[in-house]
């Protein structure tokens, strides 16, 4: 093969590799849901899961639960109120609230009632049953269980940044308040600190 042809071939192969390298397409890898994957440093599913679990473990381990069970001979009924996002990120507090509900219900220590939004739909359904369901299967109104305690909270952040490097400090506060007399029976707090280092240069 003449030298010129060889050179052309090398350039052609080189270019082909470059072009093919750019045509990678989408790659998908399945991961375990419990695996922690940090991409941007923002609040993510792992934070939500870890914080809710740690806080609920703490809540169920405290004195208020033993006192209530001793006095009332039944597990308390709890409702999850609002968890306010006071952070600098758009955090989906619904998933956090769902994580809390799951952790509490699964513990079996506490009974849960549906939240304000969920109740609306159920009441509509009950009204509908009143009209259309048979007497045997119809569920009467006015039999709802009132909650004994409400769980409220907030997610706060403090950001300390220098150029592209950030320290993100998350603080989640949860408070359990007695519906009868506004007493705070439990206050929980969980903190997360992350160091996020960005680059000043890119390719």
């Amino acid at each position: 093969m003449p030298l010129v042809m060889k050179k052309i071939l090398i350039v052609f192969v080189g270019l082909s590799i470059l072009v093919l390298a750019g045509c990678g397409g989408t790659k998908v890898a399945r991961k375990d849901v419990d695996e922690t994957i940090d991409l941007s440093g923002a609040w993510n599913d792992s934070d939500s899961r870890m914080v809710s679990k740690a806080m609920i473990d703490d809540m169920l381990d405290q004195r208020w639960l033993r006192v209530y069970k001793r006095d009332h001979k039944k597990p308390p009924t709890v409702i999850v109120g609002r968890v306010r996002n006071l952070s600098h990120e758009h955090i989906n507090t619904n998933t956090f609230v769902a994580d809390i509900e799951r952790a509490v219900i699964n513990s079996g220590e506490v009974e849960f009632v549906a939240s304000r939004d969920e109740r609306g739909e159920i009441r509509d359904e009950r009204k509908d049953q009143d009209l259309h369901s048979s007497e045997k299967t119809r569920k009467a109104m006015g039999n709802e269980v009132g909650a004994d305690f409400m769980l409220q909270g907030s997610i706060n952040t403090i950001i300390d940044a220098l150029k592209k490097t950030q320290v993100r400090y998350y603080q989640v506060d949860l408070t359990l308040i007695s519906m009868a007399d506004n007493r705070k029976v439990w206050v929980g707090q969980k903190k997360i600190k992350k160091l996020v280092e960005g680059s000043e240069l890119r390719y």
């Binding site: 306010r84 996002n85 006071l86 952070s87 600098h88 990120e89 758009h90 952040t157 950001i159 940044a161 220098l162 150029k163 592209k164 960005g198 680059s199 000043e200 240069l201 890119r202 390719y203």
Partner: protein, 440 residues
């Protein structure tokens, strides 16, 4: 070097050729014309369709997200608008680090080869409009998140540059104060009002601007509410305000906060500041400048029954954009000059070996030398604010836009605005005058 230049006729021919080639390389701002017409005709949906058809891609992608968000806002689709603004935020974050390849290309070709991430004031306005969208959606907590992000952004910007035009954003700071106050966070609100006041004073030194009267009342009221009597009295003396409403009285009522965009932001054009023929080579240096639009109304009047509020200008994007460009112009000029020299040298060297290749390179160099005229063009030229305290209830609120001679230019009615005790209801509007395209 080239025999083609030997006669005067040939030189003129060549010049004509270069001019026609360079006119083919349209700048970004020129491509905005079809969208402008639809905005003026108050047809944001049609403007969005045009934008979707010819989406700016690659390095101009941010402009697509920003313009799309503004059109969706104008259409009342606040949720979708915020999705686009989120994409804009991600883009800015991703492309903020300096790119080695883009910088090299900018040195060889022109500044438009760099990814557009917006000027600091544009980056902050992304959060501002996201906050407004959330407020319109009745989600003040999410608007608060944007307020936090504005603070983080401005603090971060101040670590790179200390020029108040880039880092002191008076109205955005003021707006964060209003958001905090709406949520009952009095100390956060007072801090934001103080910062806004300092920022207004810093900007006052750079261009003609008056401190909004509303802010003066806010400072007095909240300093009083927080028990800071000395500070309150200092403001009373400084602003010469004798009558003001106490926070406890204001809380018994509701308040309508009205944010109004006026006209369109200035548009960047290019002008060729140097064009020379050295050693038979044509070379030029093109730089951007801002051209203001006619902004339309002079004041907005919000009225219901026998109560009214007159708007006041709170943010002068025209001037902020101009001063921002002036801040960066020395760097842009230095880069353009260095590029011109480099382009000249390479074409000259290539021409020494091969006359035709040298000529071709010179033509390319000349044609690609265009100024970077990219900017967020769907922004208003300035922003007005009006605050109208009202007793709780449902209202039809009238809006009148008036010209400098107090003549009515445009009217609009907001139906069934719900005003709740101790809460704020947010109304927004963006009006572009039919004369906006006539430059000032």
């Amino acid at each position: 070097m080239l025999s083609i230049f030997n006669s005067v006729v040939n030189r003129r021919l060549c010049f004509a050729l270069l001019c026609s080639i360079s006119s083919g390389c349209a700048t970004y701002s020129e491509s905005f014309k079809p969208l402008e017409k639809e905005i003026i005709a108050q047809q944001p949906d049609k403007a969005l369709k045009i934008l979707e058809k010819s989406q700016p891609s690659g390095n101009d992608r941010l402009l697509y997200f920003l313009d799309k968000a503004m059109f969706l806002r104008m259409m009342g689709k606040f949720d979708e608008s915020n999705q686009s603004l989120e994409e804009a935020k991600q883009y800015i974050k991703k492309f903020s680090p300096t790119s080695i390849t883009e910088e090299t290309a900018a040195f060889i070709v022109n500044d438009s080869t760099r990814a557009f991430i917006g000027a600091p004031f544009e980056q902050v306005l992304v959060h501002f409009y996201a906050a407004l969208n959330y407020l319109s959606l009745g989600d003040p907590d999410a608007a608060r998140v944007e307020a936090q992000q504005i603070d983080t952004k401005l603090t971060n910007l101040s670590q790179y540059d200390k020029d108040p035009i880039l880092i002191a954003d008076p109205f955005t700071r003021y707006m964060t104060g209003i958001i905090y106050e709406g949520l009952g966070e009095w100390s956060n609100a007072l801090i934001a009002y103080r910062t806004a006041y300092a920022a207004y004073k810093a900007h006052q030194k750079l261009y003609s601007l008056s401190i909004p009267t509303y802010l003066k009342y806010d400072l007095i009221r909240l300093a009083d509410y927080e028990g800071l009597r000395d500070e309150r009295d200092k403001y009373i003396k400084e602003f010469n305000i004798k009558k003001w409403t106490k926070e406890s009285d204001l809380k018994k009522q509701g308040e309508v906060v009205f944010v109004m965009g006026n006209g369109l932001a200035p548009i960047k054009r290019q002008h060729t500041v140097a064009m020379a023929a050295i050693n038979n080579q044509m070379m030029r240096v093109s730089l951007p400048y801002y051209q203001k639009r006619k902004n339309g109304f002079y004041s907005a009047r919000l009225s219901v029954a026998n109560q009214e509020a007159i708007s006041t200008e709170v943010k002068d994007i025209n001037n902020i954009a101009e001063k921002t460009l002036a801040h960066y112009l020395p760097t842009i000029t230095a880069r353009a000059l260095a590029r011109a020299v480099a382009k000249y040298k390479t074409a000259d060297k290539v021409g020494d070996h091969n006359a035709l290749a040298g000529f071709a390179l010179m033509v390319t160099n000349y044609a690609t030398e265009v100024a970077d005229t990219r900017s967020w063009l769907t922004l208003p030229g300035d922003i007005h604010l009006a605050r109208l305290p009202l007793a709780p209830g449902k209202y039809d609120i009238n809006l009148e836009l008036r010209g400098a001679g107090n003549q009515i230019l445009h009217t609009y009615q907001y139906k069934d605005v719900q005003v709740k005790r101790g809460a704020k209801s947010y109304l927004t509007y963006h009006w572009v005058s039919p004369f906006a395209l006539r430059s000032q």
